[in-house]
Symmetry: C2
Subunit: 219 residues, 2 copies
DNA sequence: TGTACATCAGTGAACGCGCGTTCACTGATGTAC
DNA sequence: TGTACATCAGTGAACGCGCGTTCACTGATGTAC
């Protein structure tokens, strides 16, 4: 629940309807994919006429952007909450996986096939870097890596703009990127169904990937 | 080039037009995404009327399935060619990456957001397992891993249906799955643009992921 | 080589559909005095 | 508390559009004798 502030009844109502529109939108996405999202269909499902939605969203694009923003916000909050409750890097990863499994469409709206020509507004990319920041914190808290510096870590010494404000050694940067790509590799294949019929348990593969990075953990 | 066999001129013409339809389809997908694929638009671009395409494809769905099949076929051929020309596991991975970078839309049609309700026909999933088989071969050819068996490798001893006909030790199965997920993790984030603006070179991250698995290589 | 017939690529009209979006409007809710 | 006015949620008609798909057809290409 976000802070409601001091709202007039009308403002409260508006916010409520906006939320319901987004809920219906998610239902549609779950049923037929994001590309099938239709304002008219949402309106019909809510018992309203199509044009009524234009009171709440400037158009289809703004609705989709709002959904993407919400998805990012939800993921950032999830990861942050795990971090603040004392979870380690593996804990964050498992929280992320749980979040994705709970609603794969939300995951794919962020990390799935990009829409040609779509560019996320600044506030959305800001949330994305907030997630990365939490990840960096968790990596920095890990016992430090004793292996020799990788060539990629050396490369990162000079290419660390994305970690501005995080004075961590390059090995930590490397680890953060690595955990990031491994999480998405295992997760996106699992969620897209590329493991179905193969027989093994995707959760164990996921855990194995993390163990390889951080040493076996309690998960 | 696939074998043409003995074709009448009419058969040759048909095959040719089918190919052109698929080419235009890829162009459309590149321009506006797979969901925007329209038979009418393709026909118009080819200077034909819409219904004419029904001589070549039963409908939109069959066209998309043909595109997916072609994409899988192309990837399987690429990976197999690399393998047969003596490339090691890292070589396969780099071949796969090059294939994906050459045409990201083709990559995402296979590994991107799944279409709700769509189920690939058997011959397509067969090509997918062909790719996995090549990967297993390459993993088996690697110097064997001296580290203790992972819990996941133990799990794979009893869950190896997907590797039927490949009598390799569980550690190799584990390695094959690992390289598979790591490739897709680094690649899908790169192709979807999640690294843009971060400053580092995605190629080096990709290589680093492979080195971690196979030991530094010549790439 | 020529004729009769079969095959089949492509056309154009038509079907019903749902889309995003605009516009002028009605009627309910809230505000100011 | 009551009245006059402003705000604004939602309607219904209309716009132009493109979609997938069907159908009966024309006319060119290929085949059999």
């Amino acid at each position: 629940m976000a802070e409601t502030g001091t709202k007039t009844p009308r403002e409260r109502y508006r916010a409520q309807v906006r939320e319901e529109i987004k809920e219906r939108a998610w239902e549609q996405i779950a049923a037929a994919g994001a590309s099938a999202l239709s304002l008219n269909a949402i309106a019909k499902q809510m018992g309203m006429s199509g044009p009524a939605l234009y009171r709440y969203f400037a158009g289809r694009d703004e609705l989709i952007t709002a959904l993407i923003r919400d998805a990012y916000r939800s993921l950032a909050d999830t990861v942050r909450a795990a971090h603040e409750s004392g979870a380690d890097l593996a804990g964050l990863a498992h929280a992320l996986r749980a979040w994705a499994l709970a609603d794969p469409h939300r995951y794919f709206l962020i990390y799935g096939t990009p829409v040609p020509g779509y560019h996320a507004p600044d506030d959305v990319t800001l949330i994305a870097s907030e997630i990365m920041a939490t990840l960096l914190d968790a990596c920095a808290a890990l016992p430090s890596d004793r292996r020799p510096a990788t060539p990629f870590a050396v490369h990162l010494e000079d290419h660390r703009e994305w970690a501005d404000g995080h004075p961590v050694p390059p090995a930590v940067l490397h680890r953060a990127l690595t955990v990031w790509t491994r999480i998405h590799g295992a997760l996106s294949l699992e969620l897209a169904g590329h493991f179905t019929g193969m027989g093994f348990d995707p959760a164990l593969l996921f855990t194995a990937e993390l163990d390889d990075l951080t040493g076996p953990s309690a998960h």
